[in-house]
Amino acid sequence: MSKVVNIAVASVGGQGGLTLSRILAVAAVLDGHSVRTGETLGMSQRFGSVISYVRIGRKVLSPTFSVGEADFLLGLELVESVRALPLLRSSGIAIVADTLKIPISASLEKRVLRVDELSKELMKVSKTVIVPASKMARDVGNPRAANMVILGVFQGISGLLTETSVRRAISEVVPSKWLETSLRAFSEGLRYSPSGQQ
């Protein structure tokens, strides 16, 4: 990998955005790459905005990147994906779950947010894949595994990491009772990805 690949993971606290970035990091090291992730954790950020940076390359030092530097945006929620969009470079690819969690600030103002409108906002980017990740995760019996579905789609589209390493990374990071359904959710995402359908 000659240049550093930057991945932004946008989510609402509690959705598993940090787990997703951790799996990417573990898989990258298994594949022999250098990796850094940047995130802030610890404060009760459940239901708050969470952005996580992942950088993979031959030699990576900085844990974060700036606006317009992301090659991929992995979004677990639509509002947060729209918020994170400026991080994506013009040639970048957004892979986003069609999940909508309306922030309290919007409800208090009686502001209406809709899945189709937010999706359209994201589609203005040349390459955006909207994934019914929550439904797919429910279908494999683990509603919390939408992050693994997105990981699968990313795997299919990017081919950045080896599938063997990603699967092993999932097993190193995800607690054993959720492991089987997580791997299945990952497989479903892989199958859903445009390249997986070929």
Partner: protein, 623 residues
């Protein structure tokens, strides 16, 4: 799951900086690790608990940072290798014993992890604890990556033992919470007590002549610190590249510097320090020799900048030094690649500036903000709702009764719609600051809100003060039986600890009665009506009243019992939003016509149903 503490030497894996530090402590043969939870430091002890360590190693949360440091210090003077962990303000709580420890010194290595937070992301100030070096006269070392964090955690012990001084391992968020590849090293057996030789002049700070003598000893040790660091540390002070344009940096800032210098291709000599105090004068003098311009790139205060300027002035060299004082690097906030690129571009002709122009969209206007709220079912929310109603039932306007907050999840009530607290200052300050308002002559009632762990940490003495001085004050202890905000650590009320050790619970109610509080009442905030009437009554009552709002953290409760969930009956909902305006619960939202409750998120507290004027919210399955 992979266990980074038990994996053998030579394994390379992705670790978070704090996990790497935990591994480093184990590799160094630590036998006592104590700390108080605080972001971004908590995962060191949390990892030691999660992955498990030998029973030879004592790993526990202490009641506060001062106690944690003193336990570690006591262990170190009897020959054990010990560590204390804390966030930036925690270092101030531990400062008194830390300063004295420099005079007594240690026998076993003692490493104090102090995690600063440029940004700040989760800390009340951008306190720069590198100054602890000058203030406490203790060596300070800093890593720039998870690998260096692990290696320095080991080397800091070796350095501490050789110098016989506690060593401060000072980190920043972007090291503590960064995941990166780490090559694991050899684990040494835990170094426990070796004996305690009585040495009164060394360990008794009551003798002023002894203290002067020990101060001289301390300065001698600091004089050899650079030489010891060079000899024992696996992470070195380094010079990369050459040229007359020099950049002096340390820690996280180095990562941005190295990448930007390589990317833009400027000729620069990069000097990276890992020993921050005492400043490595011999190394630095050599490293900056021949530089015409020095740019100091660092986060928080212009610490290194002043060190470099003072050294150059001593050397009689008139090199120009740029940095925070000259305005090339911002004084506030954390650095990033873009800011570093701009600073270099402003000094080196031809270097490209700013961020890449490939940005495809500006921030999209009107994306609604999503600050961290209290969770669905949070007992604090019910308590605050009852408080605000109780205040008005007692005959006061909301704006007439100041609510002094404290540090913890319950400070999230500063956000709309509750906007309940007026201050959030430092651990324990709610009670003393409310007392301050009263003794200054504030006539109306005042309320202090403090969490259970914060009460144990620093609330007990303020309460003694308030009782003793007969102040009229209502104190709410928001007791959810856990240190919730930092990730659910144990409190002194727990009968069994994360480590598996059994403990003797220290009950808050017993403490309150022992202190002599005039009126103690314990109410479950889920019983909103009882809570409202308690507030209404206690606000008007004279004396020191403590209302313990007792209900387990909703996140933990959901794990231990099945929760009933609520739903909105569409026919009855008018979309008036009373439920959302009262509670601000993030499980609820407005879809343009009605309110919707997310079944994934509802924790079943029922607060929304209590405040729906149309009876449109009911328990799922009750229809």
């Amino acid at each position: 799951m992979f266990n980074p503490l038990k994996a053998p030497e030579g394994v390379k894996t992705a670790l978070m900086g704090n996990e790497a530090i935990a591994r480093g402590f184990v590799e160094a043969g630590v036998s006592v690790v104590v700390g108080y939870p605080g972001t971004p430091s908590s995962e060191v002890i949390a990892s030691l608990h999660e992955y498990g360590v030998s029973s030879e190693i004592y790993v526990e949360w202490a009641v506060n940072e001062r106690v944690a440091f003193e336990i570690a210090y006591g262990a170190a003077i009897v020959g054990a290798r010990a560590a204390a962990t804390m966030k930036a303000p925690g270092a101030s709580v531990a400062l008194d014993p830390m300063v004295s420890s420099a005079y007594g010194g240690v026998e076993g290595g003692l490493v104090v992890l102090v995690a600063d937070d440029p940004g700040p992301h989760t800390t009340q100030t951008e306190q720069d604890n590198r100054w602890l070096g000058f203030l406490a006269k203790l060596p300070v070392v800093t890593p720039s990556s998870p690998q260096e964090a692990k290696d320095l955690a080991v080397s800091a012990f070796d350095m501490s033992e050789e110098l016989k001084l506690p060593v401060i391992l000072r980190t920043t968020t972007r090291v503590n919470h960064t995941v990166g590849e780490v090559l694991l090293g050899q684990v040494r057996p835990p170094k426990r007590v070796s004996g305690f030789r009585k040495d009164v002049p060394r360990f008794v700070r009551a003798g002023m002549a002894w203290n002067l003598e020990r101060h001289r000893w301390l300065d001698k040790q600091l004089n050899i610190a650079e030489e010891v660091f060079d000899r024992v540390s696996r992470v070195r002070n380094i010079v990369e590249g050459s040229g007359r344009f020099c950049i002096v940096t340390e820690g996280s800032a180095y990562n941005y510097v190295r990448e930007v210098v390589d990317e833009v291709g400027v000729e620069a000599r990069v000097v990276k320090l890992s020993l921050l105090f005492p400043p490595p004068r011999r190394f630095l003098a050599e490293a900056v020799e021949g530089c015409t311009d020095v740019l100091v790139i660092e986060e928080l205060d212009p610490y290194l900048e002043l060190v470099v300027k003072s050294l150059l002035s001593e050397l009689g060299v008139s090199t120009r030094v740029f940095g925070k004082v000259s305005g090339h690097i911002p004084l506030e906030g954390e650095l990033n690649r873009g800011l570093v690129r701009e600073a270099i571009a402003s000094l080196v002709s031809g270097a490209p500036s700013g961020t890449p122009k490939e940005t495809q969209s500006k921030p999209i206007p009107g994306v609604p903000s999503r600050p961290p709220p209290m969770c669905p079912g949070c007992p604090h929310r019910s308590m605050y709702v009852a408080m605000l109603i109780g205040v008005s039932k007692a005959g006061y306007k909301r704006g007439e009764v100041p609510v002094f907050g404290d540090i913890g999840c319950y400070a999230l009530a500063s956000q709309p719609p509750l906007e309940a607290i007026w201050t959030e200052h430092s651990m324990g300050a709610s009670i003393s600051m409310a007392m301050g308002a009263k003794v200054a002559g504030f006539e109306g009632p005042v309320i202090a809100v403090i969490g259970d762990s914060t009460f144990y940490h620093a609330g007990i003495q303020p309460l003694i003060e308030a009782v003793h001085k007969r102040v009229d004050i209502l104190v709410v202890v928001a007791d959810n039986s856990v240190v919730a905000m930092t990730g659910h650590q144990s409190t002194p009320a727990w009968p069994a600890l994360e480590s598996g050790r059994r403990a003797k619970p220290v009950a808050i109610e017993d403490l309150l009665r022992a202190i002599g509080v005039d009126h103690v009442e314990v109410v479950d905030p889920y019983d909103v009506d009882r809570m409202v009437s308690a507030f209404e009554r206690l606000i008007r009552q004279p004396g020191v009243k403590v209302l313990v709002s007792k209900h387990p953290c909703a996140l933990l409760e959901a794990r231990s019992r099945s929760v009933r969930r609520y739903r909105v009956v569409e026919d009855k909902c008018t979309g008036c939003l009373a439920c959302i305006r009262v509670t601000g619960c993030p499980a609820m939202s407005y879809n343009g016509e009605k309110v919707v409750i997310s079944s994934d998120d509802c924790a079943g507290c029922g607060l929304c149903a209590r405040f729906c004027p149309y009876g449109a919210i009911e328990v799922v399955g009750s229809e």
